[in-house]
């Protein structure tokens, strides 16, 4: 059983790492975004392998279902950068400097963990009174509304502020907004514009049927 899990872990880890490498090497931005989605999905599968069902599902719901869509939309709306052969933002010695700084920062985060972690050993039992590791949805929810209530609410306020800000930025001024009117609305408008309806048709002939064409200049002046 353990061997099977090791094999599955190897496959999923290869998927995650391979997809991550593809994200940074592929030239087409849309392809990079799609590889990133595959990477997110693999991370969700890893959570599932660790028996963290809720985290796995939330990973899929939030990252694959929402954030990746956001990324794809952002790429679509900035279409001019999607083509092949886009110039690199930095080149020459600046590229190597950037790479060195990134590697250094990553090492600062990862090296102490690698050195101090006791691999393949069960976690040491903490001092008495240490809470059990969080297991499921109920425990997570309870932690949110009792222990970490302040952080939870601050995060909520932050998200609300971001939402309001997005609406304010995206809000177009009414005067510049123009929607195509439906035929019924245009008909209504035409009736209102022709204030005194000029009935000059000869007696006996039926009045011309209202045309459903958009209002042209000549028509209004009649």
């Amino acid at each position: 059983m353990a061997t099977v899990i090791q094999i599955i872990f190897g496959l999923i880890a290869a998927l995650v790492v391979g997809a991550a490498v593809m994200v940074v090497t592929v030239r087409n931005v849309i392809h990079a975004a799609l590889w990133l989605i595959a990477c997110f999905f693999g991370v969700g599968a890893l959570y599932l392998l660790l028996e963290a069902e809720f985290l796995a599902v939330v990973q899929v719901l939030v990252y694959v279902g929402a954030i990746s869509i956001l990324i794809l939309f952002a790429i679509m709306l900035t279409r001019q950068v999607t083509g092949e052969g886009v110039r690199q933002l930095v080149g020459g010695w600046r590229l190597w400097l950037t790479a060195a700084i990134s590697a250094l920062l990553f090492a600062v985060a990862i090296v102490p963990t690698v050195i101090s972690h006791s691999w393949n050993l069960p976690a040491p039992p903490g001092p008495p009174g240490t809470p059990e590791p969080l297991a499921g949805v109920a425990e997570l929810g309870r932690a949110f509304v009792y222990e970490f209530l302040l952080q939870f609410q601050v995060a909520g306020v932050l998200l609300t502020v971001a939402l309001i800000g997005a609406i304010v930025i995206a809000f177009e001024e009414r005067a510049r907004r123009r929607r195509v009117l439906t035929l019924a609305e245009e008909h209504e408008l035409r009736k209102r514009l022709a204030q005194p309806p000029p009935v000059e048709a000869p007696v006996g002939e039926p009045a011309p049927a209202p045309r459903a064409t958009p209002i042209s200049e000549g028509e209004v002046q009649q």
Partner: protein
């Protein structure tokens, strides 16, 4: 399924295989079965929809191939298989090829948590309900891939419309389910069904109610409002008619499917009908008790189950058949409502769609969550949670008070919101008209 395979291999044949092999075999068997069932559901639903919509439009519908036209979907499937597969020259080949797979795969995965009958669930996840909606949101990626890779403006427009619609209507759907989750305090689909035993009143709310399998959430005010909102959101997620703007054939050819032909088009079609089937089924499971119905609970009590290991296997079969019958009957009834709506309503405009989702359905579901909290406080909470005035009431009285209060809250919220919404929409139309006239007269003079 694990038990059946285990008893067959290790007890009957005495081979003594390890547990993980048996688990693998049983899961593969269930998966194969489900992969066989899904396309047949799609074939049947296309036939069902065409016949039903034909009746509503005073036609007969497909009636030539086989008895009463029953083999028409198979003929269509053969046609779809043998058609030429055309990929546009300007298309992004690999993304174009992968998009239908990314759309179909999540709909198949959603079967993993759908319970067909008592004890007949492929995987009883503790977060089954969330899994269902998390997986369903993946297909939006596939739609966007199809739109981007086709290099066709109709496909791109359709994909953008589809994704905007799916993202917007996921919120009311999930919020309406949150109310039900508050009532049951579980995310497991199996426990959700088990909480719906009873007769009009759930046995989980009032002990001692006779169990006829009819204690559905639809009979509570909270569940009723949640069902209405969920079903409208399901129509939007499944791109059914009042919300079928992503593939509005009179505006943008076929939306994201424009550049697809042959079996790839067939896969999109399959995904759509399977998704509709699943949405109807999950609506039946959450609000109409799934396999719950008169007789199933009694039959399953006699059968072999974890609670009753020395039951009779005949009752397993009977309970299974009756449960699947109830579930499918409810599902097809909902699908009929979808067809009925298609026959009755015209297509919405994009701005109407967004206004309705964001300004009407979401506030309604938020009010519904408040009334779910009232329901839980009146029915479940006691002195230890700080609710002292209900502790001497009989359970039936508590249920009655909770019913009346939540009904009043929900009906009041609906009336108030409907008045505000219609007034706002009328005002919006008037302002648009005035503005248009002003700009028009200004340009003319």
């Amino acid at each position: 399924m694990y038990d059946i395979v285990n008893s067959l291999i290790n007890v009957a044949f005495g081979w003594g295989w390890p547990g993980w092999v048996i688990a693998l075999i049983s899961h593969l068997a269930v998966t194969t079965l489900l992969f066989a069932i899904a396309p047949f559901q799609m074939l049947f639903l296309t036939y069902y929809e065409r016949r039903a919509i034909a009746r509503m439009q005073d036609r007969i519908g497909p009636n030539r191939v086989g008895p009463a036209g029953l083999f028409q979907p198979i003929a269509d499937g053969v046609k779809m298989f043998t058609k030429e597969d055309i990929v546009p020259t300007a298309a992004d080949k690999w993304v174009h090829f992968l998009a239908p797979c990314v759309v179909v795969a999540p709909t198949m995965l959603m079967f993993a948590v759908l319970p067909w009958g008592p004890g007949m669930v492929p995987a009883d996840l503790s977060v089954g309900l969330l899994f269902f909606f998390a997986i369903s949101s993946i297909s939006a990626v596939g739609l966007l891939m199809a739109g981007l890779a086709s290099s066709n403006k109709f496909a791109l427009l359709g994909a953008m419309r589809a994704v905007a619609q799916m993202v917007s209507y996921e919120i009311p759907a999930v919020l309406s389910l949150l109310a039900v989750v508050m009532l049951t305090s579980t995310l497991s689909v199996v426990q959700l069904i088990e909480a719906q035993a009873g007769l009009f009143i759930s046995t989980a709310d009032v002990p001692g109610i006779p169990d006829l399998g009819l204690g559905w959430f639809i009979f509570t005010p909270v569940g009723f409002l949640a069902f209405i909102v969920f079903f409208i959101a399901a129509l939007a997620e499944g791109e059914r008619t009042p919300f079928d703007i992503p593939e509005a054939d009179s505006e943008i050819v076929a939306g994201y499917m424009t550049e697809y032909s042959g079996m790839k088009f067939g896969l999109f079609y399959l995904a759509q009908y399977v998704l509709n089937f699943l949405l109807c089924a999950i609506a039946a499971v959450i609000f109409f008790g799934g396999w719950q119905g008169p007789g199933v609970g009694w039959l399953y009590a006699q059968a072999i189950s974890p609670a009753n290991p020395d039951g009779n296997w005949v009752f397993n079969v009977l309970a299974g058949f009756l449960g699947v019958f109830y579930l499918l009957a409810k599902t097809y009834a909902f699908f009929f409502v979808m067809v009925w709506v298609r026959g009755a309503f015209p297509r919405l405009r994009v701005d109407q769609l967004m206004d309705f989702g964001w300004k009407f359905l979401i506030p309604l579901t938020l009010v519904n969550i408040v009334s779910a909290a009232i329901w839980v406080a009146l029915l479940r909470w006691g002195p230890e949670q700080g609710i002292t005035f209900t502790q001497n009431w009989a359970p039936i009285l508590r249920w009655g008070v909770a019913f009346v209060v939540t009904l009043a809250v929900n009906v009041g919220a609906y009336i108030a919101l409907a008045r505000i919404f219609t007034a706002a929409q009328a005002e919006q139309g008037r302002i648009d008209l005035d503005e248009y006239r002003d700009t028009l007269t200004a340009t003319l003079r």
